[in-house]
């Protein structure tokens, strides 16, 4: 993406001169304070919102017009965003249903994905019978079931408690390691972004701008013990400082 800008109809500039290149198989975190336009940026990447300036080009799929075929992008919202009237199976099946592709292969794929996020045995449950963490797992399964080239997550774990959040962080890492989908993960947690990503884009607020683009050079696969290591702490400190500096520059 080149020179992406977004201006709301009120004239408020949400994003300004955003340049962002995504490498295939990367796990990129977009880190920034609340209200910096992270979600807007993610929606532009998904094609759910149009930039007011600049161009968005996705070369992940062979498609010149920048149009992403349905199923090419998976999106996980801040809330699980499930259909409360449908069972876990039907919720995860939704992308296939909308593509009018519901066969036995798709149904098998759905079961497999539900197992992959650790919800085997809950196929027939309704969302209200599940805990917050389990609902988020359903949401992740739905996003992954089409084997998307690009997985976008918008602060998916922000509403969860610390313990569930840590568990889901690990699960997301396993899912990503197993298939190497390109991931863009929006968060306001420094620790989460360092633990998960291969790269972190630090954003500032109003208008949202990318202040720094930092690689995360930590060994893979990542295990929980990494959270205690000095290398992890050092990168967290660097990212934290970058974020603080960017915000200080902004306020001057």
């Amino acid at each position: 993406m080149r020179g992406i800008g977004k201006r709301f109809r009120s004239g408020l500039a949400a994003l300004e001169a955003i340049d962002l290149d995504l490498g295939a198989g990367e796990f990129l975190s977009i880190l920034g304070p609340s209200g910096c336009g992270k979600t807007t940026l993610l929606r532009i990447i998904a094609g759910l919102a149009e930039p007011s300036e600049g161009e968005r080009r996705l070369s992940l799929t062979v498609d010149g017009g920048g149009h992403i075929p349905s199923g090419g992008v998976g999106f996980v919202f801040q809330d699980p965003t499930l259909m409360p009237w449908s069972t876990v199976i039907d919720n995860v099946l939704l992308p296939f249903r909308l593509a009018r592709r519901v066969g036995s292969a798709e149904r098998e794929r759905v079961r497999e994905e539900i197992r992959a996020v650790g919800l085997a045995g809950f196929e027939r449950a309704y969302p209200r019978q599940l805990s917050g963490g389990m609902r988020m797992r359903v949401s992740i399964a739905r996003a992954l079931v089409t084997d998307p080239d690009l997985l976008l997550l918008d602060e998916p774990f922000a509403a969860l408690d610390e313990i569930t959040r840590t568990a889901l962080n690990d699960d997301l890492l396993r899912l990503w390691e197993n298939r190497r989908t390109t991931v863009v993960f929006v968060t306001h947690s420094v620790f989460e972004s360092v633990y998960l990503s291969t790269r972190i884009a630090v954003m500032t607020t109003r208008p949202g701008r990318i202040a720094a683009d930092l690689p995360v050079e930590l060994p893979q696969p990542r295990e929980r013990a990494l959270r205690m290591s000095p290398g992890y702490a050092a990168i967290c400190a660097t990212v934290s400082n970058t974020l603080a500096r960017a915000m200080a520059d902004q306020s001057q």
Binding site: S70, V73, F77, L98
Partner: protein, 266 residues
């Protein structure tokens, strides 16, 4: 005080006890004061009338019930269809919704004579009157429901390239179902009221006489116990319609909607 904290037997027994006490008081007052039955009959006299006039009153009830249920079905089908049309076309909603409101706020008693003149077939005339009273809650509620789909789910549907038909079928209609059912519960009572009002205006109107006309007739002839008996049957019918619609609503929503959750779950 939270009513859910009382055991189920109490919730049935206590209103019944209040009813029984009131009936005894009523009977006592009528007897002690020697109130003549053409002014106020006691519950025993009404019960007796219910027993003797019961079969013929039930026949009339069936006539009224047919109008009511047909009007309710028409309200559900056409009310729902109008709401879906509104949700598909904003311009249609903007241009037609005010007229639905006008139809709703105009007293049915005032327009019923016109409808009865215009529509020759008596059953159909009554049906149209009852429908006019009953359809609005379904239209208004379902329209709100169709417009309340979760914004993120809408975005997700767009992301997966859903057609308008798919959005309607898989997202908007299920979202609107609880609203539609709430509207239908209100319409159930209104359909009965509409049918009764139309019968009042129409008179016998044909070979069959509904319960409302029996009430009028009993009033003219000062057979007040029968009037009360007919009134009792009407109220009972209204309650049964409500309970049936409530049960239907719970059955359809029991897996997912807050309104239908059991109290001990959460």
């Amino acid at each position: 005080m939270n009513p859910g904290r009382f055991a189920r037997p109490w919730r049935i027994a206590s209103p019944l006890a209040v009813g029984a006490v009131l009936l005894v008081l009523w009977e006592a007052v009528v007897r002690v004061e020697h109130i003549p039955p053409y002014i106020l009959p006691g519950p025993l006299a009404i019960g007796e009338s219910l027993w003797t006039d019961g079969p013929s009153l039930l026949g009339s009830l069936l006539v009224t019930l047919r109008v009511t249920l047909a009007a309710l079905a028409a309200a559900a089908i056409f009310g729902g269809a109008i709401a879906v049309l509104f949700s598909l076309s904003r311009i249609l909603e903007l241009s037609l919704f005010p007229y639905a409101v006008i139809l709703q706020v105009t007293p049915i008693v005032a327009i019923a004579p016109l409808i009865i003149i215009w529509v020759r077939e008596p059953f159909l005339a009554l049906l149209v009157c009852a429908w006019i009273v009953a359809f609005f809650p379904v239209v208004a509620n379902t329209t709100v429901g169709l417009n309340s789909a979760d914004r993120n789910l809408l975005a997700l549907f767009r992301l997966y390239g859903a057609s308008r038909g798919q959005v309607l079928r898989y997202l908007k209609l299920p979202t609107a179902l609880p609203y539609f059912l709430a509207g239908l519960r209100i319409s159930g009572g209104l359909a009965l009221i509409g049918a009764v009002v139309a019968e009042f205006v129409a008179g016998t109107g044909g070979t069959e006489t509904g319960l409302a006309f029996r009430i009028l007739e009993a009033g003219y002839r000062l057979v007040i116990p029968r009037l009360f008996a007919a009134l009792f049957l009407l109220s009972l019918t209204g309650i049964v319609i409500y309970l049936v619609l409530d049960a239907l609503s719970r059955a359809l929503l029991r897996h997912w909607h807050e309104s239908a959750l059991e109290e001990d779950e959460g």
